[in-house]
Symmetry: C2
Subunit: 368 residues, 2 copies
Amino acid sequence: MSNNTCRWGILGSAGIARKNWQSIRNSGNGTLVGVASRSIERAQSYIDECQSHVSYPEPPRAFGSYEEMVESPDIDALYIPLPTGLRKQWAIRAAQAGKHVLCEKPCGSDVAELEEILEACKEAGVQFMDGVMFMHSRRLDKIREILEDGDSIGRIRRINTLFSFCAPEEFLTGDIRMNSDLEPLGALGDLGWYNLRFTLWVMNYEMPKAVTGRLLNASGREDSPSLVPTEFSGELLFEGDISAGFYCSFLTEHQQLATISGTKGNLRLDDFVLPYFGNELAFTLNNAEFSQEVCDFHMKRFERRIAVEEYSDSHPTAQETNLFRNFGDLVIGGTPDPVWGDIALKTQKIMMACVESARLGGEPVQVL
Amino acid sequence: MSNNTCRWGILGSAGIARKNWQSIRNSGNGTLVGVASRSIERAQSYIDECQSHVSYPEPPRAFGSYEEMVESPDIDALYIPLPTGLRKQWAIRAAQAGKHVLCEKPCGSDVAELEEILEACKEAGVQFMDGVMFMHSRRLDKIREILEDGDSIGRIRRINTLFSFCAPEEFLTGDIRMNSDLEPLGALGDLGWYNLRFTLWVMNYEMPKAVTGRLLNASGREDSPSLVPTEFSGELLFEGDISAGFYCSFLTEHQQLATISGTKGNLRLDDFVLPYFGNELAFTLNNAEFSQEVCDFHMKRFERRIAVEEYSDSHPTAQETNLFRNFGDLVIGGTPDPVWGDIALKTQKIMMACVESARLGGEPVQVL
């Protein structure tokens, strides 16, 4: 760190990382030192392309190897969008080199991998966080306020999430997410991580007693050792008969629907992961009223739309910006917050229990 | 039948039947001859109350026993809102007496019961239909048009339905739906019937290969021989990896959400069972667009609201009115249409397979 600025490196030149090029610039407490790829030309062309779109006063440097970036003394924190199959190795090396770790999801291929990463971060005294952007949206604060007001939703009974996109044929046959060595959890890891995290957030990180999972579809790239989940559904069962259903898929067109239903009403978002572009983030609160007057039965809509300001010219993707700002604050503060690792580990544990349930034909599996 | 009018009797004075008092009057091809209760006073006070609200030119007669109504020569069709535990007996007696049968749901306590009812109707040459009102909404025609246009939704991949209301304490401890002799299927029979029927309708009555079910909560009135399902979730698995999740509950406040998701978009209704009161019935069609320009990732909302005219002063509850008109047309036409019995039987078979899956701890059960 220098002058209260978190100095970032992007470890890998995955397409998803482009989104965060400007998030770091907009964060207010960070700067981007460089981008690493296994080829310096690739890193440079990535930088040139992004720089021409959103420029840093001092252009980030190209690193021709991951090692070089991990060892670089002028970098404080690494954003690691590498494939899951490569992530553990580099996250641990980064931590051991004293770098703070912002890790894309799913953090590990299994629970043990993530535990190893977290142990390495703990030992090195560096911050760990996963890249779930919606966790940093101000909309969540407003939703929590509603969930806790006692009247709008009442006691929570059911959470339901649907998150999907319809991958083109070239994705299903060529994308790295379709190789089981690189992304063994497929759509469950890539999309289901958000379903599970949102559910956990709603439940204030209470763990489910048991989960069920169902592999609805799997497929794989020609070079894939085994099939990769492309569509998955499951259910989380909490104390007090609270339950949560989820569905994620690479085969169904864009949807990101979340419903939180309680004893007094329900709350709905149709863009819970990647918000629709605009000047605000909204959700609806629904408290339908049923009335009967002798023979007249009326169901009356009572819907309120609640919004928070979000987008602006200087914060075109505010939740991502907040993610990098929040991470930077922790780095600058000097005391890692273990809660982010705990939340990621809970997410991973639930996910792996869902996978185990699917393997067993859908029977309930306890989350240990 | 006389003068192309279907002459109705209401067998039982359940609260739900009040809704249909005016549906018969508004149907245009029917009239209400009488209401039967086990006490003639109760039948008369029911009639007086409804008649003061929505009056028939000639007031319906009170029948002091179900037998009397079943044998009455001036009645063509019976609407049977009796509890499920009593329904088979009276539906069969009605059919044997030559009465057409409009039966509330769930039609039977199990598949065999409904098969017996349908056999009796077939032998007697009378019409059978269950009382699922939304099947008669003109909104469904519009939804079918969208589902089949090839572009709006594409190929269907996932159907999701949530239907619930939050029953007051006196319901859970006192309502007949909380006695397992009368309503052994509880919330699954009362609400889940709609979830399953809507799913079947979307799938053009194709049967699922297998289903799973989970009993999330059960409770019972003091006099109930066993517990009654109060909350239930399940999943239907169709050919081609098409799947449908559903949730129904007496413990979660009003919601009636249906989502049909395909390879090109999704369609949503938030009042799929009992439409919100108003002059039209609507649904939304969602085709979000994702775009990336170098570092800018935008999810753009593209939502269309599609509505059909529904309510008017003379048709305050149009789908119910349509139900009675359509049934009356079949009675007047003189040739029973077996498709309505087939659809009810499919619904019952899927429901019982869900119950069986729940009994087995959630494992997939084939639908026979």
